[in-house]
C-alpha cells in the first residue's frame, strides 16, 4: 500500500513519466504464458466471429460497423474524471454488442484495439490479445448475452426493459474486465491477487457507472431514431390497438 506522500509523488510525476494506460495493459505487465493464453482466446473468438459475420450479416450492416468503430474509438479518447483523482473512459464492448450483435461487434472492437496499439502506442502489442479479450470480448459476448437475458426478462419491447438491461450489462462488463485484468496481473506475478482485485474493483465499480451512462445515451438515440438498426430490434405489437372499442 503506497502511503500518502508516495501517492502524491506518483500523481505529480504521472503526467511526465507514464502514458495514459486506461484499462489498456502496456507491454511488460503480463508474463509470456499469460500473454499467449489470452492471445489464443482472443484469436479463437475473433476467428469464430469472422465466420459468423460472413454467415449472418447483410450488406447494409457494413457501414454501421464503420460508424460503431468510429464512435467507440472517439469515445475511448475521452477520459472522464471519477472521485479520488482517477479517470476512466468508455470500453464500448457492450455497446458494440447491443448495436451490431456479438460477432460484428467483436470485429469492430478488434479493429479499435489494433489501431490504438499500432498507431497510438496505447496498450502493448505483445499483450494485445489480453486487451482485446478484456475490454472487447468480455463486453461483446458477456455484456451482450447478459443484456439480452435481462431485456428478455424485463420487457424486450419496452424502453424500460431495454434501458435497465443496457445499464446493468455495460456496468457489469467493465467490472468483469477489471477482474480479468487483475487475475492476469496476479497470475503474471506482477502484483498479488488480493491487492489487484481490491484495487481494480474499487475503481472500476465507479468507472462502470460512466460506461453505463454513455452506453445508455448512445442506445437511447438509436432506439428513438432507428430502432430497426439494433441487432435485436423491438417488435411492434402485432395488434397495436383494436380498431373498434369493445
Amino acid at each position: 500500500m503506497g502511503d500518502l506522500s508516495s501517492l502524491i509523488f506518483w500523481s505529480g510525476l504521472h503526467g511526465v513519466l507514464f502514458p495514459q494506460l486506461a484499462l489498456h495493459i502496456p507491454d511488460g505487465f503480463l508474463s509470456l504464458p499469460v500473454s499467449l493464453v489470452t492471445w489464443v482466446m482472443a484469436i479463437a473468438l475473433i476467428a469464430t466471429a469472422l465466420g459468423r459475420v460472413k454467415g449472418e450479416h447483410q450488406e447494409r450492416t457494413v457501414p454501421l460497423m464503420g460508424v460503431c468503430a468510429a464512435f467507440i474509438f472517439a469515445a475511448q479518447m475521452i477520459n472522464f474524471p471519477i472521485p479520488g483523482g482517477t479517470s476512466g473512459h468508455l470500453l464500448g464492448g457492450t455497446l458494440a454488442g447491443v448495436l451490431l450483435g456479438p460477432w460484428a461487434g467483436t470485429l469492430v472492437m478488434t479493429v479499435v484495439f489494433i489501431v490504438q496499439a499500432a498507431l497510438f502506442q496505447d496498450g502493448g502489442l505483445t499483450v494485445l490479445g489480453a486487451n482485446i479479450f478484456n475490454m472487447g470480448l468480455i463486453g461483446t459476448f458477456g455484456g451482450y448475452y447478459l443484456y439480452k437475458a435481462l431485456r428478455s426478462t424485463l420487457g424486450f419491447n419496452s424502453w424500460r426493459g431495454m434501458s435497465i438491461a443496457v445499464a446493468i450489462a455495460s456496468w457489469t462488463s467493465v467490472v468483469l474486465a477489471s477482474v480479468a485484468t487483475a487475475l492476469q496481473l496476479a497470475i503474471s506475478g506482477t502484483v498479488s491477487l488480493t491487492v489487484a482485485l481490491i484495487a481494480m474493483l474499487g475503481w472500476h465499480i465507479l468507472i462502470g457507472i460512466g460506461e453505463a451512462i454513455i452506453t445508455l445515451i448512445a442506445t437511447s438515440y438509436v432506439w428513438r431514431v432507428r430502432p430497426d438498426l439494433l441487432y435485436d430490434p423491438p417488435q411492434r405489437s402485432p395488434l397495436p390497438r383494436p380498431l373498434v372499442q369493445r
Partner: protein, 122 residues
C-alpha cells in the same frame, strides 16, 4: 415514417454517427481528464507502473514517427491531439467498414480467409 428508401435513411444515419464521432474526437478530446485511469492508478499505487516496457514493439513501427501516443508530431500542441483523433477515427471507420465489406461480400462461397482485419497500410 418516411417513404425514402432504406439506403438513403441508412446513409443519413451513417453520416450523423460519423459526425458525432468526429466531434467527440476532435473537439472534446482536449478536455479529457488527464488523471491516471483505473489500471494506471492501481499500477502507481502498488508500485508496478515501472514494469511497463520502454522500448515497445509499437515504437519500432513507422507510425511512431507520426504519432506520439494521441498526439500528431510536428504540429502545434493545441491541434496535435484533435488531429490524432481525427485521423484515428477515420482510420477505424475505414478499417471496420472494409473488414465488414470483405467478409459480407464474400459470404456466398468465397473462403479467402483473411484471419484478421488488415493492419492499416497508410
Amino acid at each position: 415514417m418516411t417513404n425514402r428508401p432504406n439506403y438513403t435513411r441508412n446513409g443519413t444515419f451513417v453520416i450523423l454517427g460519423l459526425s458525432a464521432a468526429l466531434v467527440i474526437a476532435v473537439l472534446l478530446s482536449p478536455f479529457a481528464s488527464s488523471d491516471p485511469d483505473g489500471l494506471d492508478r492501481v499500477a502507481e499505487d502498488h508500485d508496478f507502473a515501472k514494469q511497463a516496457e520502454e522500448d515497445t514493439v509499437a515504437k519500432q513501427l513507422p507510425f511512431y514517427s507520426v504519432f506520439e501516443e494521441y498526439a500528431l508530431r510536428g504540429v502545434p500542441e493545441a491541434v496535435a491531439t484533435p488531429l490524432a483523433g481525427l485521423i484515428g477515427t477515420l482510420t477505424v471507420f475505414g478499417m471496420a467498414w472494409g473488414a465488414g465489406k470483405l467478409l459480407v461480400k464474400g459470404s456466398v462461397q468465397d473462403s479467402t480467409d483473411s484471419d484478421l482485419p488488415d493492419r492499416p497500410s497508410n
